[in-house]
Amino acid sequence: MNLPVVTQSQVAHRSLQQGDRTSGYVLLLPSLLVICAVTLFPILYSVWMSLNQVNLTENGYQLQFDGLANYNILVHSGVFWHSVWFTVYYAIVTVAVELVLGTLIALAIQNVQALKGLSLVVMLIPWSLITVVSAEMWSYIYNGVYGILNALLQALHLIGAPVTWLGTPTLAVVSMMAADIWKTTPFVVIIVLGGLQMIPAEYFEAAYIDGANRWQVFWHVTFPLLRGSLALAGLFRILQAFGVFDLPFVLTNGGPGNATQSLAILGEESLFQNLHFGVGSAIAVSTVILVLGACLLFLSVFQSLVRGESA
């Protein structure tokens, strides 16, 4: 491809638009190639692999078309359905709590000026923390024998005997969600605070002068103007939550039993421990379908919320 060379004398006459368009594609091409090779193509190829029996050879693999056989195995597997169920409600609960809690905290602290730089740094710490590290940290806090959480609750006389937080299915799920909420709520707070700063103060003043109460101001002024920030935070969180892997891997390794076995944990197990690449691909594709569905659902619910407000 020829790069357009624009000399001074040409500027006035030649078709600038055409030259700009060509250089646009030239600038865009490297990024597109990398992204397609590493994300788009692998996702599509996983769909194809999921329709095959995959046999590993010495340094490659053989595919044998097998129709929907891999999906047939999944549909009849209780373990698979359990991990779908766990992933879905884990994502819904954590994202909902993080969005609501994050918005509430942001609204409460938006006008507090003190310590602004310092609190910003503190809020960014959980976001920048390696998830494996925060999981190890929580596993020590939750420890049933010498964990500080039990010691605290016993000192406050809230529990009698030490609790094995990660030892029973329900408690393990709740503890894991709490660790996730600890790590991600500050991120939501930052996004919402940023959104709040963009709203001109006159909007609020005008609403109060018109006699609106606090709730009306929030519902009719703040919330509609925050929807961009909230939708973004929500989408990011949903996409992440559906891939949850690090936290259960370290905290419970999917247990007790398979109580915290997310789709990613199940997929990793069948792919790299049992080397069932066909079934593993089918699990990966199921995750993609679920994630897409969840994003569309989230956006449509969100839009109808906003529309309901303006009606």
């Binding site: 624009v6 700009d20 910003l120 190890e136 891939g243 990613a264 792919l271």
Partner: protein
């Protein structure tokens, strides 16, 4: 906006509670890393170490090849960040300022795909890496992380490029500068904050990523920090002291980055949200 005294008290109260909730678990990890093993597994726990010890730091650095993991993480994160900056500044400029058909839907699509759970692409990627002989190599992670972080970096930079007045672009053109010259001479210098924001996001994401690093680079010599720390534990014991010592070493560079670049991190995040 008028603000009652009650509101301000509530604001301070919530802020202090919130910051404490963030810091206390973190504080517990730091304190524990200086306790001898007998104190780490004592119940009820000692809040402040009775006997301070550096043994866990010595263990992490000596017994667990932690410095190798640090080196691997640094190499991968630095090269990934450089690649992402080079590619995303070009693409972000093109999307913001040059006429390309269908660029907004394309950008949104890429953004969605890049945030998909890694399990979606890791099956095929593993096969590709295996076929290329790239398992347990730096390039396996660098290429994967570059692709995953590119769309978000492009998006941040596009928002910054959009803020540079179009008049500057036209003026440069009238002076005979081509699109490439305009890009390097005018736009890049004006969008430095955006470049910093994109760099920090990419660096942090590469530094913390676990799933792909675990699947592609599991040999002891090629582990990154998250994989190394996750595999500290043996089947029979979890050496919390050593784990936390390693964790704190690995957190320090990131905390320094965050302290320096906090404003740009936040503006990178929020501008995107508003401009969509």
């Amino acid at each position: 906006m008028k603000q009652t005294k009650g509101e301000r008290v509530v604001g301070y109260g919530v802020l202090i509670l919130f910051l404490l909730a963030i810091l206390l678990p973190f504080f517990w990890m730091i304190v524990t890393s200086f306790k001898p093993n007998t104190e780490i597994s004592a119940y009820p726990p000692t809040v402040w170490p009775v006997h301070w010890t550096m043994e866990h730091y010595q263990n992490a650095l000596g017994r667990f090849h932690f410095l190798t993991y640090v080196r691997n993480s640094v190499v991968v994160a630095v090269i990934t960040t450089a690649c992402v900056l080079a590619l995303s500044s070009m693409a972000g400029f093109a999307i913001a300022r040059l006429p390309i058909r269908g660029k907004t839907p394309m950008l949104m699509g890429l953004l969605m795909i890049s945030t998909f759970p890694p399990i979606a692409m890791v099956t095929t990627l593993y096969m590709m890496m295996r076929w290329l002989g790239w398992l347990n190599s730096y390039q396996a992670l660098i290429i994967s992380y570059t692709a995953i972080n590119l769309p978000f970096a492009i998006w941040i930079l596009r928002n910054y490029f959009l803020q540079v007045p179009m008049a500057l672009f036209e003026a440069a053109k009238m002076d005979g500068a081509g699109p490439f010259q305009t890009f390097y001479r005018i736009f890049l210098p004006l969008t430095t904050p955006g470049l910093f924001a994109a760099a920090v996001f990419t660096f942090v994401a590469s530094w913390t990523e676990f799933f792909m690093a675990f699947v592609f680079n599991s040999s002891d010599q090629m582990r990154t920090i998250p994989v190394g720390i996750a595999l500290f534990s043996s089947q029979f014991s979890v050496p919390y002291g050593d784990i936390f010592a390693g964790s704190i070493i690995s957190v320090l560079p990131i905390v320094i980055l965050v302290v320096i670049f906090r404003r740009w991190i936040v503006s990178g995040l929020t501008q995107g949200a508003v401009k969509g």
